[in-house]
Structure formats: structure tokens, C-alpha cells
């Protein structure tokens, strides 16, 4: 059985309910880009989409007490984002746009990608993807297996431990090792791309 998003988030949701803002912040970092993408499909404007998601997270924090812990936080915040975006369109008397966007949770993934960002950030995202994939490819076999089973198959540490026949603690270490290497590569990339963009700017001056 795969670990659901519900299981993964529940600890953070509980802490956020108890007033721990860091727990809520981690949920924001986790879901923000996915939700901006969702809101964008409605409002067709990057800035407005960001505003919709900000508003949705604020609404969710305010009504967190009403959130039932047996459901998924992502599904909940997704619904809030969709409703906030729809309400925005209605309030702007742009109902006609809604007719073209019949977006439900079920078919959300079928919507084609929209080239909404600047060419630079699309390129950066692409480069980032290449770096991450290359680093996964270069992982040692055991580390790669543990990491892939977790990230692509969504298996729990215990399930992975059964498959690869090693202690749960070893699985945890291997997955961490993979993430640590990827994190280092991503950091290097971000630092170097920031450096080169500064260089370009100073050359232009």
C-alpha cells in the first residue's frame, strides 16, 4: 500500500493546528507551485494566480480547526484554491471564461501545460530537472533503488525495507543520502546561475 499525501502531511497539519507556524510554512513550500499552476488555469495571469494561492493558504490557516484529519490536506487546499479562483472570476464578471475551463480534481492533470513563465525561468526549471535526473542516475545502486521506490512508487520505509531486505534505518539513511546529494547539486546550480545572471547584468551596464 502506498503512503498517501494524507499520511505524510498529518503530522504537520497537527502541529499547525496547535499554532506552530513553521509546520504551516512547510506545507506552503510543499504545495505552492502546484497550486499556482492550478489557479493559473482559471485566472490566466501569473500574478493573480499567486494572489489566489496566497489567499487560499490564509483562508486555510484561519479555518484549520475545521479541517478533518482523516482527509487529505492537499485535496482540501486544492478545493479552496479552485473555489477562490472561481469566485474571483465570478466577481470580475468573467463567467464566460469558466465555460472554457471545466476543471475538476479528476481531470486537472489532463490540461496541457501552459507556457506562462518567462523563457529564462522555463530554462532554469528545465536545467534544474536535468541536474536532478542526472544526479539520480549517478546514485549508487542501493541508494537509487531506495530513493526510487520512495519517490516514484510512494512506498513506506517499512515496505522498502522488506523489498530490499535491510533494516528500516538503512532505508532512511539511503533516501537521505540521495536527497543530500541532489540538494548539494541544486544548490551549486542555483549559486552558479545567480552568479552568471549577475555577470550578464554587469556586462550590459
Amino acid at each position: 500500500m502506498k503512503l498517501s499525501s494524507k499520511d505524510v502531511d498529518i503530522g504537520l497539519v497537527k502541529r499547525a493546528k496547535a499554532g506552530d507556524y513553521t509546520a504551516f510554512d512547510l506545507l506552503v513550500l510543499k504545495y505552492q507551485s502546484r497550486l499556482i499552476s492550478t489557479a493559473y488555469k482559471f485566472v490566466k495571469d501569473k500574478q493573480i494566480a499567486e494572489d489566489m494561492v496566497q489567499e487560499s493558504f490564509i483562508k486555510s490557516l484561519k479555518s484549520l480547526d475545521s479541517f478533518r484529519e482523516d482527509s487529505s490536506f492537499y485535496t482540501w487546499i486544492y478545493r479552496i484554491t479552485v473555489n477562490t479562483s472561481k469566485n474571483f472570476l465570478i466577481s470580475k464578471k468573467r463567467k464566460e471564461e469558466l465555460l472554457h475551463v471545466d476543471l475538476t480534481e479528476a481531470n486537472a492533470d489532463r490540461i496541457e501545460s501552459i507556457e506562462s513563465d518567462s523563457p529564462e525561468s522555463i530554462l532554469t526549471a528545465k536545467q534544474l530537472e536535468e541536474i536532478i535526473l542526472k544526479n539520480i542516475e549517478n546514485l549508487g545502486e542501493e541508494t537509487k533503488v531506495a530513493f526510487t521506490l520512495r519517490e516514484l512508487e510512494g512506498l513506506s520505509y517499512e515496505q522498502i525495507a522488506e523489498i530490499v531486505r535491510c533494516p528500516v534505518g538503512t532505508v532512511r539513511s539511503r533516501i537521505f543520502r540521495a536527497r543530500e546529494l541532489i540538494d548539494g547539486a541544486v544548490k551549486d546550480f542555483k549559486n552558479s546561475s545567480r552568479y552568471s545572471s549577475k555577470e550578464v547584468k554587469s556586462e550590459k551596464r
Partner: protein, 229 residues
Amino acid sequence: MKNDKNMKEKISALADGELSDFEIRRVLSEIEKNPDYRKFWQNIQQTREILTDDKHEFLNNDISQEIFSKISGKKLEIVEEEEIKTPWMRYVAASFAGFFAVIVYSVFPTPENSFTDIASKKIDQAIESPGALEVLNNSVSGLNAVLQDYELTREGTRANYRFPNSGKTFKVSLYPIQEINKIGIKEATKISYIKSKKGIYIVSVSGNISSDQKTQILQKANLFANQLK
């Protein structure tokens, strides 16, 4: 170093829903103190998104700061180090501050003993009060830095801190908006405007700490601004 790895391993487990409630509490408290841990969490999520979603056009969009500002009810404006260092940007920053100060002054009547005078007095009192130092001390909480020395004057409050392990030092200052010129050029590596019941202030952080740590200090100063009584 080993502790850092242990903590990151726990953050990795947290991302997989494999930590107990007790451990989560501890890990969150560490993430709150260390921006690098927060970044590590963010990178885990970005990697996950890249692996599980074939379209990630908004991967680089980060609205968490805006959400924080709106939730805390306080505006946070950050001027980055690189920006403030160039002369023309300094000019723009100074102009902006001047413009801002003009707005602040222009909304009040000008006669003596007017509301402006009373407000100025209150700001002076607030900035001179131990509350100002408390704001600065709270703003560095979690960094394990030690207060070296401080200065409380009507123009502003400045405090120097030191990391006992590395010996690195940094300075945090709090000035009323009209005293922006008191911030030295070298000093103004990262600043933020904060608004409290007593008025508008500038918090400045400079010295031998990372940009993320500076941001963290500014955020916390913003949170504790209402201690200026």
C-alpha cells in the same frame, strides 16, 4: 556537522511522513532556527515535483514570504545586499526613504505640540527604551549568538552579536524612519521597514552572517515590533 546531517536526515524522514509527533515538534523547532534546513525541505519538494509531475512551470515561484507577511499582519520589505551597494540604488533607496518620511510627516499637522511632536517623542522614547533592545535580542533568537555590546540612544539602538563557536560577528540596528541616514553604507547590507503602534522603523542587519540569516532576523524583528512600548 554530524548534528546537521542528523537533522537533515530527520527532515528527509518528515517529508516521507516517517517521523513521530514528538520528533516532528523538535525538527520544526530546528527548521525555524536554521534557514538552510528550510531550503533543504524546499529542495526535497521541488525534486519530488520534478519526478512526479511532467509540467512544473511554476517551480521557481515562492510566495511563502508574502503569506507570512499577510498572516502576521505586518509588511516586510527587504532590500538585498547587492542592491544597496550600488551608488544609484543607494540614491533610490534614500529617495524612497525620504519620500516615505515626507508622507509620514505630511499626514500630520505641523504646529508645535501637534500630533507630529507627540508622535516623534513617543518614537524617541520607544527607541531609547529597553523594549528596543528586547526587539533586537528576540530577532536573533535561535541563532545561538551572544550579545557583545549595545548602544541605546534617541537616534537608534544598535547591538553587536557574536557566534561563540566561529567568532563571527554581526550587528543589528533599529532606527526611526527619519534616521535612515544614520545607517552607514557598509552597514546597510539588509534592511526592512517595520511598523509598530509607535511608528515606522528601519531594521538593519550587517556583518558576517548569511543572507538567509539576515532575512530571518528581519522577519523576527517584524514579529516583535510591538514590544516597542
